[in-house]
Amino acid sequence: MMAIASFFVTVASFLMQMFMWRMMFGGMFGGRRDSQGGAIIGIFLATILVYFIGSILMKSLSRYREYGADHGGSELTGDPGALASALEKISRSMARIPSEDLRTLSTANAFMIIPALRGDSLGKLLSTHPPLEERVARLRALEREMTTGLR
């Protein structure tokens, strides 16, 4: 699946670059006004669309595979709780690492609010890895499932 998705994205990005060169050197500097013009623009737009949709799909697939890896790993070890708590520990440690510059150490930090204002939903769509909290939540759910299943 990943191979198919990445194939289309690669082809689309190649075509996109080709069209861009064409537009820059053919179209922009008094290019030909033949009947193909409209079709080429149409193909160009379609290529851009394929490229963006393809890369978003690819990234969501990558996130999905990460959940899959967690799931598979937990089934192998039979202990999703262990992986969950390891992930929680990493997540907690990572949260301790600051963003405030070393040089502003003595001055009051007026920018503390910025991380809270970041566009999280867009970031989520474009990230290749699911957030740790979500992975932990899924592992905890799996843990419940496995323990109730054993009874």
Binding site: I90, M94, I97, P98, S99, D101, L102, R103, H129
Partner: protein, 197 residues
Amino acid sequence: MPVFSRNQGPVDDWTVIQTILHAESQLHGQSEITPSRRAGVLYRPDDGNQFLSTLERQLIHILNEGEGATKTGSRVENDEHGTSWVVMDDGNFEDLVSSVYTIGNAMQYNEAGQNRIAAVFEFYRSGYAAGENDWAPGSVGYWVYRYDRQRFYPFVPEGDEERNRAGEMQISQMMRSANVSVEKEMEEWRPIWGIPF
């Protein structure tokens, strides 16, 4: 209880800084990291301090002349934060580390010890990445030595004032395993944005 607590009297910076010499040869040998030629000492300039205000002219004398001289290239750069850097360049990592220490030491001897903020060493990731969140091969990372805490920590900037925390934790494990004195309080792993080298 920190080993290098200030109450126990000053520890020479060299005691801590020299630990990266061994670490570099170990990690370089394992193909985990490759040092770049670059390093820098970050400090607060002070026009009232004669040594600091004439530092640029003295660099050659301090680093490249007399006993223990190196071929380290050096210059002074001011950054956007009102702080300054002695930027150093040397393909010989031992000489680079020695020059960085020498600059910090010279500042201390000239009543500018309190002006020193950090010594920063640049590295490339040469190993392979096990996961996508890792410190990617070919990317740049820094080992930062804070003069006030006398400890190292990793810093991997990524894009616009973002840092790769997962990668940094990975590097800190590498550093610890190579016996570098790593800052345990992760809240003190302060980023240094826009390093000028």
